[in-house]
């Protein structure tokens, strides 16, 4: 264990309670991905990022900072650091992600906007009101904090007149669709992953040609991406939210053949990401096992969650290329 578990949980919980996110990122950073997209503010249907993709480089820095702290004599003062964190944001002292890291994390929501527009969906955006969903804090058992935070999210969505929230990652999808109804009275927002929205917009002919578990012969694609990819299912999409067929149908319709690794669909193997903040060594070992399963099928792999992407890429150490499904879908369209 890198640090006393309760201290790390406490730091993350304090941040959610006091600052609205487990790892507060400056507002201008959280909305930077919207630049030049001319997205409508609010409206009945919005793209709700829950800041997950944008948070990933900051989570990475926290893990690095924790490892340094755990290796130093300061480790025994983390209880103190935790108390200080109530007043001063301790995460402000961790290294800032580089511009390249930040910009890479902003690409996913931008690509999702392009894909939705390609399918004739013009989503609104909540900009600085697009709040973190509380997923990590919920996993850690900080339910009261998450319930209070969920009420803030509910108030914001009501204020903007949101009826449908299109999410871009599995964790935010799960929180808003399955957990919020258990925490809130009168939660009536229709929550859908963009993969479900895009799959729903596929022409029936495309849907028929898509064979979810087969490996059709690679079709020529217009971009520079791979014509056949190994697909890594997110545990949360596949087992918690039942999103299994949609990514397969979308890839097949885009002419990208899906190669199934050992343990696919509802039997997928975790990337280790959820253990990253508290148990980095275990997270790495789990990710390495998954990389081996994927690598046995292809050196081109596709993920659909920012945590899977970063954790598996790190474990692969360059031996396998991991790309987000939004990138692969756009690439196949010849338009990144």
């Amino acid at each position: 264990m890198a640090l006393a578990t309760a201290d790390v949980v406490g730091i993350l919980g304090d941040n959610l309670r006091l600052r609205g996110s487990v790892l507060p990122i400056p507002n201008r950073r959280a909305v930077h991905w919207t630049r030049g997209l001319e997205l409508r503010r609010g409206g009945a249907t919005v793209l709700y990022t829950g800041q997950m993709y944008q948070l990933v480089p900051y989570i990475e820095r926290l893990v690095a900072a924790e490892q340094q702290l755990a290796d130093s004599p300061l480790a025994r003062f983390t209880g103190l650091g935790r108390r200080v964190n109530r007043i001063v944001n301790v995460s402000a002292f961790m290294g800032r992600p580089s511009r390249t890291e930040r910009e890479r994390s902003e690409e996913a929501p931008r690509r999702v906007v392009a894909l939705l527009r390609g399918a004739g969906v013009e989503p609104g955006c909540l900009f600085e009101d697009d709040l973190y969903s509380g997923t990590l804090a919920y996993d850690l058992g900080l339910d009261e904090l998450v319930a209070a935070h969920a009420r803030r999210v509910q108030a914001v969505l009501r204020r903007h007149g949101v009826r449908t929230a299109i999410t871009i990652d599995p964790h935010t999808t799960h929180m808003l669709r399955t957990i919020y109804p258990t925490l809130l009275d009168g939660w009536d927002v229709d929550v859908r992953s963009y993969l479900e929205v895009l799959a729903g917009a596929l022409a029936p002919a495309d849907a028929l040609t898509a064979a979810p578990y087969a490996s059709p012969p690679p079709a020529p694609v217009s971009g520079s991406g791979a014509a056949a990819v190994a697909l890594h299912d997110s545990c949360v999409y596949a087992r918690h939210e039942g999103v299994v067929e949609e990514p397969r149908r979308l890839l097949a319709a885009a002419g990208v053949a899906v190669l199934e690794p050992e343990q696919a669909g509802k039997f997928t193997w975790c990337c280790g990401g959820p253990a990253e903040a508290l148990f980095p060594e275990r997270a790495l070992a789990t990710a390495q096992q998954r990389v081996a399963q994927l690598r046995a099928v292809s050196s081109e792999c596709v993920t659909m969650c920012p945590l899977c992407l970063v954790n598996l890429s790190k474990a692969a150490d360059g031996a396998v290329r991991f790309r987000d499904i939004a990138e692969v879908l756009l690439d196949a369209r010849g338009d990144r």
Partner: protein, 103 residues
């Protein structure tokens, strides 16, 4: 339930049920979950569920690192013949441990 569960278990089981839908008592202790868990930790999750169902509070406190290691990935639930809500049970143990720690 065994006599041990009645003596030590009622209190912890009730506390956990007050926090949410705790159902570790429905576990048949077959071990399929442990065989499918990607973490490969002996105690996770079958023994941990047993300790919780038996109300062995100190065991759970001693196993807190294991409680917080779980990925909540539900690979175990996918194969559990008794339909135990393993990830939810483990999340409730986290809540209980954090409350114990003065959270």
């Amino acid at each position: 339930m065994t006599a041990l569960a009645t003596v030590g278990g009622a209190a912890l089981g009730d506390k956990l049920r007050a926090l949410g839908a705790f159902d570790a008592e429905t576990c048949m202790s077959c071990g399929i979950c442990t065989a499918t868990c990607p973490l490969g930790i002996d105690v996770l999750p079958r023994q941990l569920l047993r300790h919780a169902a038996l109300g062995l509070e100190q065991r759970i406190r001693d196993e807190q690192e294991v409680v917080f290691s779980c990925l909540l990935c539900r690979a175990c639930e996918q194969s559990c013949p008794a339909g135990v809500h393993i990830a939810q049970d483990i999340r409730l143990l986290r809540r209980w441990l954090l409350e114990q720690g003065g959270e």
